[in-house]
């Protein structure tokens, strides 16, 4: 059983008003009545009542948010409002979770910046749900089903630590997983180390989480900033361009990507010259002047680290100014559908990028994932879907290998754990706790008015990681 969104009382209330009940009630029901303007009253009433009762019951059973429900019930406005602080006190007492469970599930506490990063994390969540459903349909782990408890981490470390505490103390989860933003991931990793809890950092890209701040209890799934830059290096070196420019968002991710790129390119091509470097505020790129400043430096090639709205602005401005037209670009993450699709027909043709070409991965493992995902959600997956799905798959593999939810045994199991994901087999390295899952590299082209990656090549993560010995020196903090 997945308990994703616990029955929300305010939705329950919407159901009762009738205005939005289709939305709130089960989707089956809404399908049944598409195009039927006057559905027979009796079944509606019966089913709506049934839904209400089950939901109310579920809420009662979990006994966790009676306060919120109550706050809508009182009649007088004064009374209603007075309940606010009262509810707060009730909540402060942390009403306990009770209720019998049939087969004690393995509880995964997942926390992520769903509100702050919805474009990436909405598909991520779907990927996780799909994996949990598949695993539970196949009998769970050692007869125990997986239960996913999802929380928003508020997009900042302060809230994230509280949420992690809540997951551990109140929800009694067995493992922690998730996080997207690097600083949130690092904070939770520190917390996991302190509290000796197993933590699988799914998304954060920072090198620090496995290297300089790496610790015993933290593992990371997604290819790190260093790995993604290293994947682009062959294309960058092959171009033999003398004059390079760099544009990156001005925070740790952009800074470390730029630093790694410079260092690696300088090593491979000592006569390279970096003619311009633009560090732009994240999400607030002043695209016109930045594109112009880069063009004025007349580079032969540009390394781009911008993503999201900044990337769209940058590309738009290049087109509008017809600037940097014949310049060679290598670009981080730009091939991920999350960032490439919004550009539609204006996708920058010829840029060599890392990304996820879901439309062009003819392996059986990926095809199976693609079919299941499209069947479940009726839309193509994003990179987030892959990460979410693979995170759960990894946890399942680790739990199976450990035969226990004990953090120490899980850590031992994850060190050298082999997992097969949609991208094929990979391993969690014992040396730095980094998964060797790779990414796809290829140039951007246009197909049917949409940007796609042409001839994408899968680069195994292991091929771009430093050796185990080198990595040991990078992990001073890990015991």
């Amino acid at each position: 059983m997945t308990r994703l969104a616990t029955p929300a009382p305010w939705r329950l209330r919407r159901t009762n008003t009738g205005a939005k009940w289709v939305d709130a009630a089960s989707s089956r029901y809404s399908l049944a009545h598409t195009g039927d303007p006057m559905p027979p009253a009796a079944p509606i009433l019966a089913r709506t009542t049934l839904t209400c009762i089950t939901r109310a019951f579920a809420t009662l059973e979990s006994q966790r948010r009676p306060a919120m429900r109550r706050s809508f019930l009182p009649r007088g406005p004064i009374l209603r409002a007075a309940l606010g602080p009262l509810c707060a006190v009730a909540l402060a007492l942390g009403l306990p979770v009770t209720g019998a469970r049939a087969a004690e599930p393995i509880r995964i506490g997942e926390m992520n910046s769903y509100k702050a990063q919805p474009a990436f994390l909405a598909p991520y969540r779907k990927g996780m749900e799909l994996a949990v459903d598949q695993i539970n349909a196949a009998g769970g782990i050692g007869g125990r089903p997986l239960e996913l408890i999802i929380r928003d981490d508020g997009g900042n470390p302060g809230d994230a630590i509280r949420v992690a505490e809540e997951l551990i103390t109140r929800e009694k989860v067995d493992v922690l997983a998730g996080t997207f933003l690097s600083h949130v991931g690092l904070a939770v990793a520190g917390f996991a180390d302190k509290r000796k809890v197993f933590f699988l950092a799914a998304e954060p890209l920072t090198d620090k989480i496995t290297w300089s701040d790496g610790n015993r209890y933290t593992f990371r799934l997604r290819p790190s900033t260093y790995m993604q830059v290293a994947m682009l290096m062959p294309a960058a070196v092959e171009k033999k361009a003398k004059r390079w420019a760099i544009v990156y968002p001005n925070y740790e991710y952009g800074q470390s990507a730029a630093a790694t790129f410079k260092e690696k390119l300088k090593a491979a091509q000592p006569d390279v010259e970096f003619v311009a470097e633009q560090a732009t505020p994240l999400g607030k790129l002043d695209a016109g002047p930045v594109v112009q400043a880069l063009a004025d430096a007349r580079p032969d090639a540009v390394f781009n680290v911008l993503f999201g709205p900044d990337l769209a602005k940058f590309v738009r401005e290049m087109n509008a100014r017809e600037a940097l037209k014949d310049t060679f670009f290598v670009s981080l993450l730009s091939g991920e559908p999350e960032y490439l699709d919004p550009l539609k027909g204006e996708a920058p043709v010829g840029w060599v990028v890392t990304g996820y070409p879901w439309y062009d991965i003819p392996t059986p493992a990926h095809q199976a994932f693609l079919d299941a995902y499209q069947k479940a959600y009726g839309e193509p997956p994003r990179l987030g879907s892959i990460v979410g799905y693979t995170a759960i798959t990894s946890l399942a593999a680790g739990l199976k290998k450990a035969g226990s939810t004990d953090p120490e045994k899980l850590v031992a199991a994850f060190e050298g754990l082999d997992v097969v994901g949609p991208f094929g087999p990979f391993q969690y390295r014992a040396s730095d706790h980094q998964a060797t899952m790779g990414a796809f590299v290829g140039p951007i082209g246009l197909k049917d008015g949409m940007g796609v990656m042409l001839d994408p090549v899968y680069v195994d993560g292991l091929s771009v990681l430093p050796s185990d010995d080198e990595v040991k020196k990078l992990r001073p903090a890990a015991r």
Binding site: A88, L91, G94, L186, T206, Q278, T280, P289, V290
Partner: protein, 632 residues
């Protein structure tokens, strides 16, 4: 750097300036007439862009872009009018700044509404038909659209200027800006006027958003990103001065363009990347302008505006016996939290966050309530305390108790410096200068990798010794927070507190009685900053880490919201507000995917039901109960 490149970048800057001006103009008009600090202004901008993209997608070229812009302006103006009619009209009589709480809640709701309507992915609209070409200038290509945009700003400026100076509507607006009650007394329907002004401001914001369609995608982060810029531009120009807003927009855009154009410069053998300054350029300009010209470039000292007279604030009174009993019970409850934690393990965790929030809010309330100085940058001292303690603990290797002293000391030092400049300013200008300082601190922390850990922050700040166990640390922070709150309370009733309130209520009379207003305020600012630093220090140790978010605008707004939610006119207000806000947020975050909207809706409910905040609402209820019981 060639001269022609700089000139060309200056031309580029004019297009960006128009964009900035359009957001700021609407904010300025709304503030000028209604005195509402409209936190939802960025949301109207965002809606403008989303609506324009949506409409443009459904229209055939070449009408797509222009049709989208027209519909966006009309719809955002309509939404603005609705918001004014349904929400703001009910709270004009609330104490000042309560409208801020309502519009902040509105921003939360509108952001989730956008997520619900348009989904999480960015949406890029079409380019403007007829303006997709470029012109050659100084050997470079300048997009036609940039020229159009560079002209659109001045065009709107002229239009607004004409509307305000030549039309009857404009005369009424100007009259209302100066004296609302007189305008009402002369038989002008104020309500319609306010609705119209709000719709006008929202429509201009929508226009600003829609006109960005060819330059950037519609995304959910736009509202907050734009809001900061809009405030800065309005304040640099001088509140209420449209012309000033345009000049300010040009200055900010030019400074940024210059930073970008210069790129990496060598200064005395040190290479510095000027483009990094764009992170904070506008706030540096604002701080500089406000220090030199306290009312902005074109602003004048606010005339003694007669605002809807909110009820005169009652003098502070000590708690009665019932109140004292309740306070003791609350203290006992918090003290017993570790015992409660045996059966409800999450309770102490949450209580810890509540305690920190309480001290954070109470310290802001001290300058905001009795002091009458609403700081929009209170998080700076929270962050200084946290970073100071974390740095001392991690790098200098001092013990945990020493770090608990050093953190607040550093925050206090920051307050000494920033306070000296800030307390000389009044009202919104004070708020904005504190905001500017907070942003400057934030950007330094954000960039100073070696000391502050840059954007990731510092980790491994776990308390040691007796304080290592959660219970030990909880009890220590409980004792410290309790002491801090009691000190603030004691001060509020002391002669110093009276002097502070006198300076707030009537600066002239206070001065005449021999009170050195600036010094009293400065001292209050330092005390508040130091205690806020203590809250930050506790935060760093409670979370084991600290990151630049602790200093962000959002965090400062949280503090304001807590104080306003609790009730600014009562010393207990911030305690209620901080507890309610923390517990509510913790709850709604688990409740639904649309938790921001739910949080916003609950806050709107509080504002509408209790314009005096929770504390005001509770005393209302108490009064009613007394009346019902037949007592006076």
């Amino acid at each position: 750097m060639a001269l022609d490149a700089l000139v060309f970048q200056a031309v580029n800057g004019l297009a960006s300036a128009s964009g900035l001006f359009l957001v700021a103009a609407g904010l300025s008009i709304i503030f000028g007439v209604t005195r509402i600090v409209n936190m939802a202004h960025g949301s109207f901008y965002m809606f403008g862009l989303y609506i324009a993209v949506t409409v443009a997608d459904r229209l055939p070229s070449p009408f797509d872009f222009w049709g989208g812009v027209l519909v966006a302006v009309a719809l955002t103006a309509l939404i603005g009018a609705l918001v004014e009619l349904v929400l703001l009209r009910r709270i004009y009589r609330a104490p000042e700044l309560y409208q801020l709480l309502a519009t902040f809640a509105l921003m939360l709701v509108m952001n989730d509404a956008a997520l619900w309507l348009w989904g999480p992915e960015d949406q890029l609209g079409p380019r403007a038909a007829g303006l997709t070409g470029t012109v050659e200038l100084l050997g470079r290509r300048l997009p036609d659209y940039d020229i159009f945009l560079a002209l659109a700003g001045p065009a709107v400026l002229l239009g607004l200027n004409r509307l305000l100076t030549r039309s009857r509507f404009g005369r009424l607006i100007r009259a209302a800006t100066q004296d609302r009650e007189m305008v009402a007394a002369l038989g002008v329907n104020e309500a319609v006027l306010f609705t119209a002004v709000f719709a006008l401001g929202a429509g201009i914001a929508g226009l600003g958003g829609a006109l960005q369609m060819p330059r950037e995608p519609a995304s959910l982060t736009l509202d907050l990103a734009v809001l900061g810029d809009a405030f800065v531009v309005v304040v640099i120009g001088g509140m209420g001065s449209i012309r000033g807003a345009y000049v300010a927009a040009v200055i900010v855009a030019q400074v940024k363009a210059l930073c970008i154009a210069l790129g990496t410069v060598e200064l005395g053998g040190l290479a510095f990347n000027m483009s990094k300054l764009t992170l904070v350029a506008e706030f540096l300009v604002m701080a500089l302008v406000l220090v030199v010209r306290p009312h902005g470039l074109f602003g004048r000292p606010a005339p003694a505006t007669r605002i809807h007279a909110s009820a005169v604030e009652a003098p502070l009174v000590p708690l009665g016996p019932g109140g004292r009993g309740a306070a003791l019970a609350a203290i006992a409850l918090f003290a017993a939290m570790p015992l409660i934690g045996d059966s409800f393990a999450y309770a102490p965790v949450l209580a810890q966050d509540v305690l920190i929030a309480v001290l954070f809010a109470a310290s802001l309330h001290f300058i905001m309530g009795p002091g009458g100085m609403a700081s929009f940058g209170h998080a700076a001292y929270f962050g200084l305390g946290a970073y100071g303690a974390a740095y001392a603990f991690l790098t200098l290797g001092v013990s945990t108790p020493a770090a608990l002293v050093l953190g607040p000391a550093i925050a206090g030092l920051g307050a000494v410096v920033f306070g000296w400049f800030s307390v000389r300013l009044e009202g919104v200008y004070f708020a904005m200068l504190t905001l500017a300082f907070a942003q400057i601190v934030w950007s330094i922390v954000f960039q100073w990798e070696e000391v502050t850990g840059g954007s990731n922050g510092l980790f491994g700040v776990w308390p040691e010794g007796v304080l290592e166990s959660p219970t030990g640390f909880y009890l220590a922070s409980f004792a410290l927070v309790l002491a801090g709150v009691l000190v603030l309370r004691r001060l509020a009733f002391s002669p110093f507190g009276h002097a502070l309130r006198a300076a707030r209520d009537s600066a002239l009379r206070a001065q005449a009685s021999g009170i050195d207003i600036a010094r009293v305020r400065w001292l209050a600012f330092i005390i508040a900053g130091t205690l806020c630093g203590l809250a930050g220090t506790l935060f760093a140790f409670a979370k084991g880490s600290i990151s630049p978010e602790a200093i962000s605008v959002g965090r400062s707004i949280d503090a304001l919201v807590m104080v306003l939610l609790g009730g600014v006119q009562s010393l207990l207000g911030p305690l209620f507000g901080a507890s309610a806000f923390t517990l509510l947020q913790d709850t709604v975050m688990r409740e639904t995917a649309y938790w921001r909207a739910l949080l916003g809706a609950l806050m709107i409910a509080v504002v509408l039901l209790f314009p005096g905040g929770i504390a005001g609402g509770l005393s209302d209820i108490a009064a009613r109960l007394r009346r019902a019981a037949g007592r006076p």
